[in-house]
Amino acid sequence: MTVSVRLKHRLGHFTLNADFEVPPGLTVLYGRSGSGKTTVINAVAGLLRPDDGHVVVKGRTLLDSAQGVNLPPHRRGLGYIFQEERLFPHLSVRQNLKFSRWFRKATRSDFDHVVEMLGIGHLLDRQPGALSGGEKQRVAIGRALLGDPSLILADEPLAALDDDRKAEILPYFERLRDELSVPILYVSHSAAEVARLATTVVALQDGRVAAQGPAADVLGDPTVTPLGTRAAGAVLAARVVAHHEDGLSELDAGGIPLFLPRVPHGIGQPIRIRIAAQEVVLSRDAPHGLSALNILPGTIEHLRAGAGPGAIASLSTPAGRLLARVTQRSAKAMELAEGATCYAIVKTVAIAPEDIGGGAA
C-alpha cells in the first residue's frame, strides 16, 4: 500500500473517523460538502494534528500518534494545492512558483514546462492581487507541482477552471501518477475527473469511509454507485490501432474496434476510456443505419433497478465489462434480464476528451 491513512479527530460537532489504504496511483476523495475531505488532507499534510492517527506514505511514517511520531509539514515532502489558492501576496507570481526552490532542490519538474502547461507565462511578473480567480488557482497548482513533491494533495484543484484548461492540465496529473509514480490524494466532485484520473476511489460520508476500492471496480460495480448514478460508468482498456484521416482514432478493445475523436497517444499505446453508463444505448437486435459508430455485442450479467425510474445493467462484452443506464420501462419492454444478449451502442462524440486517459485501466 502506498498510502495508508487512519485518522480520528473531533471538530466541534463533526467527528472524523477515516481509515483507508490505497495502492500506488491517484486516489480520489469523494464526498458531499462537509464530509471531511479537507480535514483528511490537512491531517495528511500535518497542518492539523488529529486526536489520534497513523499516516504512512510510501513506507515513510508521517504520523503515528501512538509512537509520538509527527513530522512537521515541511519535512513531509508535499505539494498541497489548497481549496483556496493561498498565494503569497508579497511575492510575484514567479517568486510564488519558485518558492519551494529555496528549500528543496528542483530535480524533476521543469519550470518552463509547468508554466506553459498552465498558461501563466504572461503573469510571471505580476503580484497575485492582480490576477483573476482562475489565474490564481493555476499559479497555486504550479507552485505545488514545482516543489517536486513526493506526495501531492489536491483539494478540488480544477473546480475554478474552464473545460479547455482542465483538458490541458489533466494529462499532467496523469504523468505524475504514471511516469513519476507520485502518489496523489485528489478531492473532486467531477465524475469525469474521477473516472479519468482515479486509481482508487475513497468515498467519505459524515467523516467516515462509505466505500473504497479500485476506480474501475467502484465505478463499474452496478451495485454501488457512491458517486451517484450519473457518475457510473465502466472503464475499458484499449490499444490504439490507427489514426484515420477524418479525425478519428481507431482502437482495439478485446478485438472490438472502437472509434474515438483523435487521441494524442501513439499507435500501439494502451489507453483507458471511461464510458458513462448513461451514454450507452442498448438494442436487442443488431442495429444498423445509426449515426453511432461503436457497437459492442454482449451478455447481460446483472441488472439492478435503482430507487428512481432507472436501472443499471452490466454487460459482459469482448472489450470488457460495460455499464448501461436505462429506464426500468425500457428494460421491461426489451425483456432485458440476466443472461440476455444485446448490443451496446456508444456514440463516438459522446466520449468526452476528459474521459480518455493514457495508461492501462
Binding site: H74, G79, Y80, R86
Partner: protein, 231 residues
C-alpha cells in the same frame, strides 16, 4: 551656523545618532519579543508582557533610576558587560541609546505584535507545505508581511529616540557632546530664564528631522502596501 550654537549642533548630531542606534537595536529584539508574545504560550509570558510595558507605566525617572542601578558601572549588568565586553553605558551616548530603546520598547513590541496577529496563518501553513521550516516560514512569509508593523515600530522608536528625556537624563546625566541630546538641551534652555527662543529653535529642528523620518517611513509603508495590495 549662528542659528544654533556649536553645542546645540552637537546635540542635534548626537540625537540623530542615539535615535538611529536605538531604532536599529531594538528592532530585532522587539520582533522577537512580539513574536513570542503573539504566538507562544510559555510560563512567564504574562510577566514578560508586563516587563515590556513597564517603561510606559512608571515615571521615566524611575526607569532611568532602575537603568542606573542595573547598567551603571556599579550595577550588576553594567559591571558584567564592562568586564566581559568592555561595553560601558554609564555617562556615555551608548547609555542614551539604551534609555531611548527601553522607553520605546513597548511601542515597538505592540506595533509588531499587532501585525503578527494579523498575519493569516494559512499562508504560513502553505509555506510549510512547500518545504519551509519554521525559521524559513518566518523569514520568507511572516517577516515580509509584518513589515508595516516593523516600520511603524521603528518610526515610533526613532521619534521617541529624538524626544526621550526623563530616563536619559536620570541614567546618563547631561554631558554636552556625550549624552546631551536635543531634549536635554531644550530642557536646559527652558530651565534658564529667557531660554525659550533657542529652545524653540531646537524643538523645530527636531521636528523637521523627525518629520523627515516619518515621511520616509510613510513612503516605505506605501511601497510595501502596494506590493501586497489585494486587488
Amino acid at each position: 551656523m549662528d542659528w544654533l550654537t556649536a553645542t546645540e549642533w552637537t546635540a542635534v548630531r548626537l540625537s540623530l545618532r542615539v535615535a538611529f542606534w536605538a531604532t536599529l537595536f531594538s528592532m530585532p529584539l522587539g520582533i522577537f519579543v512580539a513574536y513570542a508574545l503573539a504566538r507562544w504560550r510559555f510560563p512567564g509570558r504574562q510577566a514578560l508582557n508586563i516587563l515590556v510595558h513597564l517603561p510606559l507605566i512608571m515615571p521615566p525617572v524611575v526607569t532611568g533610576y532602575l537603568l542606573l542601578l542595573a547598567f551603571g558601572t556599579q550595577g550588576p549588568v553594567g559591571g558584567f558587560l564592562e568586564a566581559q565586553f568592555g561595553v560601558t553605558f554609564a555617562f556615555r551616548w551608548t547609555g542614551a541609546v539604551l534609555a531611548a530603546g527601553v522607553m520605546a520598547f513597548p511601542f515597538m513590541v505592540r506595533a509588531v505584535r499587532l501585525s503578527i496577529e494579523a498575519v493569516d496563518p494559512k499562508l504560513e501553513q502553505a509555506a510549510a507545505t512547500l518545504g519551509a521550516s519554521r525559521v524559513w516560514v518566518f523569514m520568507t512569509v511572516t517577516l515580509p508581511l509584518i513589515l508595516p508593523g516593523i516600520i511603524a515600530g521603528m518610526v515610533l522608536t526613532f521619534a521617541k529616540g529624538m524626544g526621550e528625556f526623563g530616563a536619559t537624563i536620570t541614567f546618563v546625566s547631561n554631558i554636552p557632546g556625550q549624552t546631551q541630546t536635543i531634549p536635554l538641551a531644550i530642557d536646559l534652555l527652558l530651565e534658564t530664564p529667557g531660554g525659550e527662543t533657542r529652545a524653540a529653535r531646537l524643538a523645530i529642528l527636531s521636528i523637521v528631522l523627525a518629520a523627515g523620518a516619518l515621511a520616509l517611513s510613510e513612503w516605505l509603508s506605501r511601497r510595501v502596501a502596494d506590493k501586497v495590495a489585494r486587488a
